[in-house]
Point group: C2
Chain length 233, copies 2
DNA sequence: GGTTGGGAAGGACATATGTCCCAGATGGAA
DNA sequence: TTCCATCTGGGACATATGTCCTTCCCAACC
């Protein structure tokens, strides 16, 4: 983690994501820009709550480790998104662990200033409300989807979401095998079983295994299998 | 559904649940009190969004029917709770179906007046934010719990939540068999499998089957099995 | 009393998923 | 080159769960 003393870059992000209108003017001097490298942790479950973060560049992985030691990925995030919003409203320690998947830039706002300047600021409240409502909706759909459909269907949906995105390092229609473990943890299954499912999809001609990655061969077929639902966004 | 023209009762609920401080004063004349009987639907998935409801008496069941026709119960609600908050923020039709489990009283506020009087009202925004954040948190825990643990563990948690509550028609430590189908739909499993699990719990001496209901015999054992987590609140 | 209908429990079998472990590939270090 | 660590895929077996259908019980009705 490294603080970036670059007012121009900060200003650039503020413009790009229209952050200023939602914050109280007096808060602006207290914004800090941080950089995290691939693999770095932004926070761990149980850490005391100090900052609200706005993700403005890169990709985050939000996960959680159960008492039994199993890792469950709750979501991936891309700009613009918020980290620490739930903790801010509930006034609790960090609930999950947040890791940088790529190089990440985040704007941090210390809760001291939030409380002082933004706790009654209508645009800020509305912003939080929108973000959290959307998160709730996604989570709720996701819960239903998980309870209702087997891993095969969920993985089909996952593939469609992840492979056809302009985001980093993922060529269109391909999924690197090194991400399979992540996929399993996100879907909530074992690596072993995910492999089995891939084998099956492969035998149906929907995907193909190659050395180092998986290719989607039949996008429509996958979409049909996934009931046309893109849960993993 | 029946409108209750009872200003005193309405006032009573407003006092009891401290509803006034969170609403804009100008909104107060536009509150309507409705009564629903056991089994009545308050709204169905796809219905156009018209009212925000505040549950002030009774118990609600929120559920959803998948394209395949499977019913999944998302939650039960008791006062004070909100129905239509997500729809209000997202400006969409009703997402789920809401049914009265007992006699229910709800305060309705038409979205026309909400938009006019409350959309920038800080206490109201804060109230929504708190409610939705809590819902998100519960949903998120629930998702992890469902992905991580088998039906047996989830049912143990469910039993502990439901059976040791002062709420209607549920004697302490007992669960009526007629509610088993609901339980299965809430946990996201089949009635058949739930029976199997009950059989198993019974053979371990944790619960006992009687005609018409199930009794918890070993609360601590169940709690241990459920990892001390009360997901179903 | 006999009949019938519905609800509740469970048997039989298929499928989904988890766990443990092994084998082959790969790439860097000795 | 040889060896070792690691990554990746998959075999074997146990467990979890779904589906379909049968049996049993009891209440209501003729």
């Amino acid at each position: 983690m490294k603080e970036l003393h670059d007012p121009d870059l900060l200003e650039h992000y503020i413009q790009t994501y229209e952050i200023e209108p939602m914050l109280n003017k007096e808060l602006l001097p207290y914004l800090t820009l941080y950089r995290y490298d691939h693999g770095e942790l932004i926070c761990s479950q149980g850490d005391p709550y100090e900052n609200l973060f706005l993700l403005v560049k890169g990709k985050l992985k939000i996960f959680n480790t159960s008492p039994e030691g199993k890792t469950l990925i709750l979501s991936f995030k891309t700009p613009l998104d918020v980290v620490g919003d739930i903790e801010y409203v509930k006034v609790t320690d960090f609930i999950n662990t947040v890791e940088a998947v790529s190089e990440v830039h985040m704007i941090a706002i210390h809760h001291r200033w939030l409380k002082k300047f933004a706790s009654d600021h209508t645009p800020f409240l509305k912003f939080l409300l929108k973000m959290i409502t959307e998160k709730f909706y996604v989570k709720s759909s996701s819960l239903s989807f998980n309870l209702l459909y087997p891993v095969e269907v969920r993985f089909a949906s996952y593939l469609l979401s992840v492979c056809f995105d302009e985001s980093d390092a993922l060529y269109s229609g391909k999924l690197s095998t090194s991400h399979l473990m992540d996929a399993a943890n996100l879907i909530g299954t074992s690596y072993r079983h995910l492999n089995r499912v891939i084998q099956h999809l492969s035998s149906e001609g929907l995907v193909e295994r190659h050395k180092g990655f998986i290719v989607v061969k039949n996008r429509d077929g996958l979409s049909k299998l996934a009931n046309h639902r893109n849960i993993y966004e």
